[in-house]
Structure formats: C-alpha cells, structure tokens
C-alpha cells in the first residue's frame, strides 16, 4: 500500500505546455477515474462525466494562469469538490430510502474473498450519494469527521450518525447475503 509520501501523488508537475498537461493527464487519469468511480458507486456515465470535468477544469486553470505547478492531489481535490458540488445541487433528488436493520447486525462469518468483494460492491452501489461520499471522505481521504461534515453540509453529529448508518448498511448487506 502506498503511503502519503507516494511519489505518484506528491510529485510536482510544471504544466507549461500542452505536452506536459497531456503527460500529467496520462499519468493520473486512471487513478482519478478509480477514485471517482468509488464516489459514484460505479456509475460509469457519471464517472466519465466527472473525470472529464476535472481535466477540463485543469486545462482551464492552466490556460487562465491560475495553475502552473500541481500534484495529483490537485486532481483528487477537484474531483471531490466537483462531486460534492453536484451532490449539494441534487440533494433532494438523490435522497434515497435506506434499509436499516437495527439490532440485526453481527460480524459476518469468514466468507470467501471474492464473495465479499461482490457483496461490498453491491452494498456501496446501494448507498445514497451522500452516504457514499461521507464514507469516501472519511475513510479513503482520511478527512476528520469535522471536515467531512463541512464538505457535505451537515453538522458533526449528523455526519457521525450518517457514517454509522452507512457502515451499518454495509454490515447488514453482508449479513443478509450470508443468510
């Protein structure tokens, strides 16, 4: 596992000409795509749209003189901001009913790795955009709960509750599949 010092994310790129921008794009397009695919729950169309927007924004920023030296972190942050921006705009539309099963949760018995991946993927896809974003920001981007709360526009308490619900959802999915 790559640590925070991973040169792929901290290496600075000087984007002084189109060739450098394209090289930067080719170096990081796949990672950004993978990151965004987790945010969108594997929605291919949304993922492609968001990734496209990230890099178009990059070109805009470079041409506008606002960005000259960047790291891959710039891309991840932009992707996250764009997703959250979209999320805030569509919050009413994206609200979903979540299945809850208070009191039924228990750790899954040891299952085959492949089966677990299939279940986890399906469980993530079934989360609401907000819940999935909160999980990603908290556990993938390592943001503290406070920053997650600010990012998704909720209070700290509501965010804690939301995270717990999302985690419980994943756990329930595994449990139900096992039965």
């Amino acid at each position: 596992v790559v640590t925070a010092g991973d040169p792929t994310t901290t290496t600075e790129w000087r984007l002084t000409d189109p060739t450098a921008v394209l090289a930067f794009y080719r170096a990081h397009a796949t990672e950004i795509y993978r990151y965004v695919s987790c945010l969108t729950g594997g929605d291919q169309a949304r993922t492609e749209d968001l990734v496209q927007e990230v890099f178009v924004n990059l070109v805009s920023a470079v041409r506008g003189g606002r960005v000259e030296t960047v790291t891959a972190g710039w891309l991840f942050t932009t992707a996250r901001n764009l997703f959250l921006h979209q999320l805030r705009g569509n919050r009413r539309d994206t609200a979903r009913m979540l299945r809850t099963a208070e009191g039924r949760a228990s750790p899954p018995p040891g299952q085959d790795e492949v089966a677990d991946m299939l279940v986890l993927r399906r469980a993530m896809e079934q989360l609401s955009d907000t819940d999935r974003a909160a999980l990603m920001l908290r556990y993938f981007d390592d943001l503290p709960v406070r920053e997650v709360a600010l990012a998704i526009g909720r209070s700290d308490e509501a965010t804690e509750s939301l995270l717990a619900r999302a985690r419980r959802h994943l756990r329930i999915e595994l449990k139900e599949t096992d039965q």
Binding site: V2, A4, D6, T9, T10, L22, A29, T30, E31, Y33, R34, S37, G42, Q44, T47, E48, D49, V51, Q52, F55, V56, N57, S60, A61, R63, G64, R66, T71, A72, G73, W74, F76, T77, T78, H85, S106, P107, P108, D112, E113, V114, A115, D116, M117, L118, L120, R121, R122, M124, E125, L135, Y139, F140, D141, D142, A164, R167, L170, R171, L174
Partner: protein, 620 residues
C-alpha cells in the same frame, strides 16, 4: 481500521476504458490549442478549484505502485460492532465490463449491447395534420464526450435499419490457422493463435485496419477461452497459462497458471472480479485422438493472482457448452452430440457469493446444436429453430415462436437491437429474425463462402465473424426516413378509354410502385415537394409484387402509398432503387398507350395503414 477501509474501497473501484482515456486526451489536446477558452464555466471553475498553495498531503493510494502488492483479506471493524466488511485490497483491479452475453450489475446496461428493444419502427405514427412538410429528425449535436463514444462503425438504431448485409473486411495478417482465439476488446478485435499446430501469432483490428501484435506467451485457441474485462483481455492458454493482453500498449503479461489446465473446450466467464472456468478436455495419451473430459470448475482472481477450487458442478460428465454470467449467477450447459445429453440441454447455475451450485431444469427442446445463451432485458434467453425460449423463475418457456425455416438447426446466435442473427448447423448459412409489429420476420442473410464458427460483438454492437484469417462484418443498411409518416392516400378515377379494366398500383416502403400480377399502368410518376422525383420504369416501379387491385375501366379505387416493409416477405423494396425522404404528394398515372396522364393529389394520412391489411381486402 482506516487503512483496511481504504483497501476495501479501493478493491471495488473501476478502471476506465481505453476508449475513454483516448477520447478525453483528444479533447484536452484540442482545448489546449484552441483559440477559445475551454467550455467550463470560469466562475464555477474558480470556485471549485482547490487552493494549490494549501493543499494537504493527499493520501490516495495510487494504483501504479500497488500493482506488485499482494491482496489481503481485510476485516473492517467499526464502531461498537466489531468486524463489518471483509474485503480485499486491490492490486490491479479489473474494471467490470461485460463481454458479449455478460451482465454484471446495475451500472452495466444490458440494453446497450444485448437487449432486443421493443421495435420503435412504427407504421402508426401520428401526424396531427395533413401538412406536406414532414420534418426529419435533426442531427444531434454532442457538446461533450459521451459516456460511450460511438465508433466510426457504430450500429445505428434498429428503427432506421431496413436490412443487414455481410461485408468482407481485409484479411488478418496471420497464417490463417483454424480455430483462432477471437475476442472483442471494446471496438477492437483480437485474433490470435489457433490450431495446426498450436500457434501464438496475433493481430488486432481497429475497425479499419489490422496491426500485428506480439506473439502470445503461450499457445491459444478459440472456443470460449478469453474474456474482455473492459481494460484487458484475459486469456487462458492451452497449457493453463493465464495472461492479459492490454490493447493500448499491445503488451502481454502472464499472471497465473491454472492448477488444472484444459487443452480445449473449456468455458469461461468474467464476473467483474473473478474469471470462472469450467469444463474442457485434455488429450488422452492412451487413445489416439481421444480426449478426457475435465468437468471441474476453478476460479481465478487477477487482482490477487489467487486460484480457488469451485465445488463440483451438479452436472454429468459431458462436453461443456455455452455459459453465461447473468450478473449474479454463472450458468453453464453440458451436453454433446450423443445420448441423453444431446444438444447441451443440461444446465446448472453457480452463485459465487454463496459458493453453491443449483440445478436448473433441462432445456425442454432439442436445440440440435449448441445455441448461444444470451441476456435479453435481464432475462436469460436461448433461440432454437422453433422460437425464443426464456428462463423465468427457473422454468423454460417458449416465449415467441419463430417462423419455421428449412435450416438444419440453429448454430450460433447473437442479438442486435431488434434483430437476432444466426448461423445454421452448417455454419455457412446465416439468417436473422427481425422483430416487428407483426411478430418475427425471417430474413435470409445469405450463404457464406466459408463457414464461420466464431463471431464477436464489439462494444458498439457490430457483429464480426472470423474464420482463419478471413473476416466479415454485418453491415446495417439504413433508411434515415423510417418512422416518418409518409403515408398518403387518394381516390383514383380510372379512365374509361383504357379497355375493360385497369390495374392499380400500391406503393411500398421505399416508394416503389408495386403492381398487380405483373401488370401495371404503363407509367407512374411520383411528386414530392421537391418536384417530380422519378417515373417508372425503371427505377421506382416494382412489378414483381402482388399488390394493388383490379378495377374496371371507369371505376374508382383507392391509391395508398405506405411506407412500410414489403409485406409478405419481410424484405424491403430496396434493390438499387432510391429511397425517398419526402412524402409523395401526387402520383401521375398513364393507362394504355397514348393515354392522357392522370395526376392524383395525395393526402397525408395521420396514421399509416397496415399494408398487409390492405392486401387482405377483397379485390374490387
């Protein structure tokens, strides 16, 4: 815990398709060099940009340096409850995307490749007025890269396709081995290896031309030994070696070796995470030319490079037929050409989540040959020479009868949008059934010069057949005006000076005038808003049809111009005749030698009549 969760989340990420990466690179290159600023909103862009001066150290686990790590099973403990999610950290994730016939989940739309949609061609399209100007569909404009960029050879909607025809493509730059490996890589096609003796040469076809690629690291043959994951081809070689081929880099990489190799005849599917392999055969060294059936099943997870033994299928030892990943289950068929298992009718399904097999009901009809299993609107279907069968609630039902043909059986089958395409048992004859408002229409696609036993479907839906190094592709013939209500009608007063009778034409889909019993008015011409577009003969009068009516001289009859397929045969009146793109607003008839032409003004119908019903009306 956080790291465990990261690994779990990363394990379910998807890789982009090579097409998307290339398309976006093209767009960025264009925007970097364009005069105008990029399209995105400048104000919004600024608001969304991160502050590059205060960026925290980002901790995303980049894929590039993970590719050599081993996967680990992770239990994620959260909150008061202990462990929540067991997942596996990813090393080299393989994006879920379906090879033809595979549906893996909610983000994959089976309709994009395999669903036979309800026919949108309609002869009952309403028009609110009898306006003589009928707008054609405006060409769509694309302001950004579509989610699935259309290829240059994208398949048009069925509603516009009036026929299909095979076209010969350039031969592959290969020796022409029999039974080569053929697999679609998005909109490219990989051909490699083959028999006689075992080979490993390969080439890739991008829809226009071929390029040689490096030899595969192990011998490969056809059958179902390869799958497209969306970013790589996963190939199982004849010696059990598993390798990936990455088309963007034209590079092979060996990633594993099967514990129980199968020389030939195995069936594989890709679940989005795991490669599942069942069946096959190994040469029997004690029986010259004989084979021993391998009936076991194994699974390979590329990201962990781990093999697992799958429980023994509840199916008899017999040859393996077609298999299919439904999105939740792996369906396999077993059979052969002899005895009770004839026709690959014995079936079972494996669920990788529960790690269990279940027995499916035997296929109730003898398909004679191993017809392909297909996903159609999230339902498993199978075609035979008598119809389409659907598997619903673990029961096979004959869903739609297909007109009985004289074919020796249905060999392989594929679905286009609204059309099912087949080979017969000889692999030389090809035909299709088109779904239309009247049910299924049979269309003969012709006898091929060579038998085809391998056909692949590209991402855009095109069918390409390979035999050795010879390649043909099914080319749709498009009429852009299909669906536009061009139906018009009028009353025609037949002159009295033409003798004792006259024959009245009808006009079919492509504005071909079809006359009764081989006779017709001497001359018919059609008028549209663009003027007199043609006159008969020769180009738009079609005399071999059995249409129209016999009317006495001096009588009156109805003239109807119907935009529809040539009823009765299911074939369009195409030939080399032109297709009109405007409604015919007038028809000019000339009866007998020297007769005065009669011009009849046509009225645009609000609803196109059923040509077959008109044909069935009593003749006057």
């Amino acid at each position: 815990m956080t790291n465990d969760m990261k690994r779990a989340l990363d394990s379910i990420a998807y890789d982009p398709s090579p097409e998307f990466i290339a398309q976006l690179a093209d767009r960025l290159a264009a925007e970097m060099t364009s005069e105008a600023l990029p399209q995105s909103s400048e104000a919004e862009t600024i608001a969304l940009l991160p502050n590059t001066q205060s960026l925290p150290s980002h901790r995303y686990r980049g894929r590039a340096t993970q590719t050599r790590s081993a996967w680990q099973t992770v239990l994620i403990g959260i909150a008061a409850a202990a462990v929540i999610v067991t997942a596996v950290a990813i090393v080299r994730p393989f994006r879920r995307e379906n090879p033809p016939g595979i549906h893996t989940g909610p983000t994959t739309d089976p309709a994009r490749t395999l669903t036979t949609a309800t026919a949108t061609t309609s002869t009952t399209t309403n028009s609110s007025s009898a306006s003589s100007t009928v707008p054609l569909p405006a060409p769509s404009t694309v302001s950004s890269i579509p989610s699935s960029p259309p290829s240059s050879a994208a398949v048009p909607p069925t509603s516009l396709v009036v026929a299909d025809a095979w076209e010969r493509l350039p031969d592959a730059p290969l020796p022409g081995n029999s039974s080569p490996l053929v697999v679609a890589m998005g909109d490219e096609i990989l051909v490699a290896g083959g028999l006689g003796p075992l080979r490993s040469e390969g080439a890739a076809f991008d829809g226009q031309s071929w390029r040689r690629i490096p030899d595969s690291p192990m011998p490969v043959v056809g059958d179902a030994s390869a799958v497209w994951t969306g970013s790589n081809v996963l190939v199982v070689g004849t010696d059990g070696t598993v390798a990936t081929f990455t088309p963007g880099e034209d590079r092979w990489s060996v990633i594993g070796t099967a514990p129980t190799p199968r020389r030939t005849g195995a069936s594989v599917v890709w679940t989005g995470i795991e490669l599942l392999i069942v069946g096959g055969a190994e040469p029997n060294v004690t029986a010259l030319g004989g084979f021993n059936v391998v009936d076991s099943a194994i699974g390979f997870t590329p990201s962990t490079k781990q093999w697992r033994t799958i429980p023994q299928p509840p199916t008899p030892d017999a040859l393996t037929g077609p298999s299919l990943w439904t999105g939740t289950e792996w369906i396999r068929t077993v059979g052969g050409s002899e005895g009770k298992f004839e026709g690959f009718g014995v079936m079972a399904a494996f669920n990788p989540t529960t790690n269990r097999w279940r027995t499916l009901p035997d296929f109730p009809a003898d398909p004679l040959t191993p017809t392909t299993l297909l996903m159609e609107s999230s339902t498993v279907v199978r075609y035979t020479s008598i119809g389409r069968w659907k598997l619903v609630d673990d029961r096979w039902t004959l869903d739609a009868a297909i007109p009985v043909s004289d074919h020796t059986g249905v060999g392989l089958a594929w679905l286009l949008d609204g059309r099912a395409v087949f080979t017969d048992g000889t692999e030389h004859q090809t035909f299709q059934y088109r779904r239309d408002s009247g049910g299924w229409a049979y269309v003969n696609l012709g006898m091929l010069q060579f038998g085809i036993n391998t056909v692949v479907q590209t991402k855009s839906g095109q069918l390409t057949a390979v035999s050795g190094n010879r390649v043909i592709r099914l080319r749709p013939i498009v009429d852009p005006t299909v669906g536009v209500p061009f139906c018009t009608a009028a009353q025609l007063q037949v002159p009295t000076d033409i003798g004792t009778s006259g024959f009245i034409p009808l006009v079919n889909a492509t504005a071909n005038a079809c006359a009764v019993d081989g006779q017709r008015p001497k001359d018919v011409a059609f008028h549209t808003a663009s003027g007199w577009v043609d006159r008969a003969p020769p180009s738009i009068v079609r005399s071999e049809g059995n249409f129209g009516g016999f009317v006495p001289a001096g009588g009156a009859t109805r003239v109807t111009i119907v935009r529809d397929m040539n009823a009765g045969t299911g074939r369009p009146c195409l030939d080399d005749r032109p297709t009109l793109t405007e409604p015919i607003d007038a028809v000019r008839f000339t009866f007998g030698w020297g007769g005065e032409p009669i011009t009849v003004k046509m009225t645009l119908l609000s609803e196109c009549p059923d040509l077959a019903a008109i044909m069935a009306e009593p003749k006057q």
